[in-house]
Structure formats: structure tokens, C-alpha cells
Symmetry: C2
Subunit: 228 residues, 2 copies
């Protein structure tokens, strides 16, 4: 490789920070990689988990990336109609090797028109929004369709990060990072998916998230209407 | 529960950010929890992965916590002889329900004398330092010995976070968070532990980390000498 690989991860107010910090740890461990944390302005953005995150580069100053990664979180609702962000993603997607997302970040890629005709995945509670944006639902943890790589909810960002590194740099580079971050997971319970969690827990979680889900799907419908 | 649970996570220059951001996402999802990100001063600290992290409370202002969590990273070397930090941890440990660590954060707990006579775990490349600090090595992903809960390297912080929530609040609270963060991991490779990674990768990784490991073990030896 005679040229630094460039990774960029979007941050925004209301991001689920682990959607971003998981793949960030993986990308930052790629030898010689250049990694940027991107937002409109260099100012701390709020997250859903106490901390703020401070971007390292603005969208306007960002060079062409090899990998663009869009994380999720409740704050994506506002990105679905944000032309500055959607235009940035479309521009980057033209030259990027991989266009990727974690969790509900996939809906932002979708709103930019970047998943039309692609198989993709997202958080289990948002899967039904994908066809509204022209994508076909995948239930995989990480879905690769040509140069679109999308991950499931939140923690899937670590699996996604390793997958992207394997595709871009090679399997042994990904394995070296996996060993260093000791990614040998051992969840204490089997509740990580609606398919394995206790059914009453899935039902109560769906009920708790229903209002937010409804509002989000309205925003997705608006985004879909603008795509036509 | 008639009183807010208080979680505190230490940050410091040279932290491995995912050691902290993993359990942070879990703790912040506990309904009604109060979560603090702690350092000596309210100023951004560098991490090993591009971003800075900004504490939300100083050690001096921190109330008695229910859970104190010490993440790892190369920056722990300086904490091993840092009396302000070690005294803070000793004071908190007196009243905390759980004294916890992720990755090489265990060595900081050890340097504070808080693992003497306990079983504990840490990053695979630092396990041998535990007995120097009076702890017995556990090879578990998350080790519970009385009120000390220690996790393995980096990504073990997610398993640790869920384990702590299960112990403190209950299994269904932990399962609800696991479902929301879709913690249903599917590592693309089996390289997450020295036991399963390709032997030549383990050897080259050990070689690459050897200089840093030597320097660290000298600091651990100094800390052990001060404990006597």
C-alpha cells in the first residue's frame, strides 16, 4: 500500500456513541490509517450516553475517504432530511471503496439514495424502514452487498469494523486487531436478538420504543418521498 | 430502588477509549442511573483512538459511587504510581457495591491494593502482572470475586457492563439493555483470544508489544514494592 487509507466516521447530536466508538477503535488500529471523526462544525456533539464527542474534521474539509461510516442513534431522525449531510454522503460514496453504516445509520445512507437496489441491515427495530428506502432487508449481523457494508444494532459496529478491515486490508490485519481488542465475546445472557431474547422482553421493548419508532418512520416516509 | 444508582468510569490520558465507551453505553441505559466520567480536571483527555474524552466530574467532587469502573490502555502506566488516583480508588472502594475494571484497568486496582487476595482478570498480555499485585489470575472473560468484577481486554467491557447491571439491578434489566444494543456478537474470525488465534499471529503480536510490556511490568514492580 503506497497511500494512507482514509476512514471517516460521522458524528451528530443524539448519536449512540458505541455505534461509532466500536468501529473507531478498530479503524484506528489499522497501521498507518488516517481516521477522521466528522461533523458540520468542530464542536462537541451530545450523545445518548453522558459523554460528548468532538469531531476532528468538518464535512467541508474532509478529503475523499476510502471508507465512510455512518453510525446510528435517535439523532438520525434529523439527518434524514438534512441536505448538507446527505449531499456529503453522496459525494463521498462516488469515490469511496466502502460505504458503511452501523445500526440506524443505514437509514441515513438510505435517505441519501445510497442503498437503492442493495441488500442491507440495521437495528432490529428499524429493519422495516429499509424497503421504504429501496433496500432489501438482510437479517445478517453484517451485510456485504458490493461496496455497501451495513451492520446491525449498536454493538454490530465492532463486527462491521473487523469485516471492513478484512475486505480492505486483509484477513490477517483484521485478525491482529481482533486479538489486540480481545474480541472474544461472551455475552452473559442470550437476549441480544429478538430471535433469542425472552418473548415478553421483546414485546415490552417494542412497546417502549413504539412512539419513537412511529415518529422515525414518518421521517423515513418523508425521505422516501423526496427520493422519487 | 428508592435511590439513584451511581456509576463512575475513570478516564485518563492514553486510555483505550472502547474500554470505557462499551460499559458506559450499558450503564447509561440503566433506567434512572447517574453516570459520571471522572478525571482530575474537567478537560479533554487524549485516547489511543483519535478522539478525546471529556470528563463530566472531577475526582474531588465525585460522590460515593455504587460502581467504580477503571478502564485500561497504555496510559495506565502513569496511574500505577499516581497517589491522587490510587487514593481516590481506595476511598471509593470502601463504600462501593462493586469495584470493577476492564482490560489493564485491573492493574490500577491492583496498584491501589484493591485486588490483594482476589481472583481477577485483565488483557491477555497483562495477566502475568496480576500476581505481582497480590491477585490470583482468572482466565474468565469476566471474573466475579465477591464485589470485585474484572473484565478481559477492551471489548470485554461490554460483557462486564452487562454482568455488573445483572448483579446490581437484576437479570431482566441487563437483558433489556442487551436487546437494545443488539449484543448478539458474530466475530468474523476466531482470533479474539491467544487460545484461538493463529499461533504465528499470537507470536508476532507478543513480539510487537514486548517493549511496552517490559516497561509496564517495571512500573507494576514499582507499584508492588510500594504496597509492601
Amino acid at each position: 500500500m503506497n497511500k494512507k487509507l482514509k476512514f471517516g466516521l460521522l458524528v451528530f447530536p443524539g448519536i449512540t456513541q458505541l455505534d461509532m466508538t466500536g468501529p473507531l477503535q478498530v479503524f484506528a488500529a489499522v497501521p498507518g490509517a488516517e481516521v477522521h471523526v466528522l461533523w458540520k462544525r468542530i464542536e462537541p456533539v451530545s450523545t445518548d450516553a453522558i459523554i460528548t464527542l468532538t469531531p476532528t474534521m468538518t464535512l467541508a474539509d474532509c478529503p475523499q475517504l476510502d471508507v465512510i461510516c455512518v453510525p446510528g442513534g435517535f439523532g438520525i431522525d434529523d439527518l434524514l432530511g438534512d441536505d448538507e449531510v446527505l449531499d456529503f454522503l453522496r459525494r463521498q460514496a462516488e469515490g469511496a471503496r466502502f460505504v458503511t453504516s452501523v445500526c440506524t445509520g443505514a437509514l441515513v445512507l438510505g435517505a441519501a439514495g445510497l442503498l437503492r437496489g442493495y441488500r442491507a441491515t440495521t437495528h432490529w427495530n428499524a429493519l422495516a424502514a429499509l424497503p421504504m428506502l429501496g433496500a432489501e432487508i438482510s437479517h445478517e449481523r453484517v451485510c456485504i452487498d458490493r461496496n455497501r457494508i451495513t451492520g446491525g444494532g449498536v454493538t454490530a459496529g465492532i463486527d462491521l469494523g473487523l469485516t471492513v478491515v478484512a475486505e480492505l486490508v486483509g484477513r490477517s490485519a483484521a485478525e491482529a486487531i481482533q486479538l489486540w481488542i480481545e474480541y472474544n465475546p461472551a455475552p452473559p445472557f442470550q437476549a441480544g436478538s429478538p430471535d433469542t431474547a425472552p418473548p415478553e422482553l421483546v414485546a415490552s421493548t417494542r412497546a417502549r420504543l413504539e412512539e419513537r419508532r412511529k415518529r422515525r418512520f414518518e421521517r423515513v416516509a418523508d425521505a422516501a418521498a423526496r427520493m422519487r
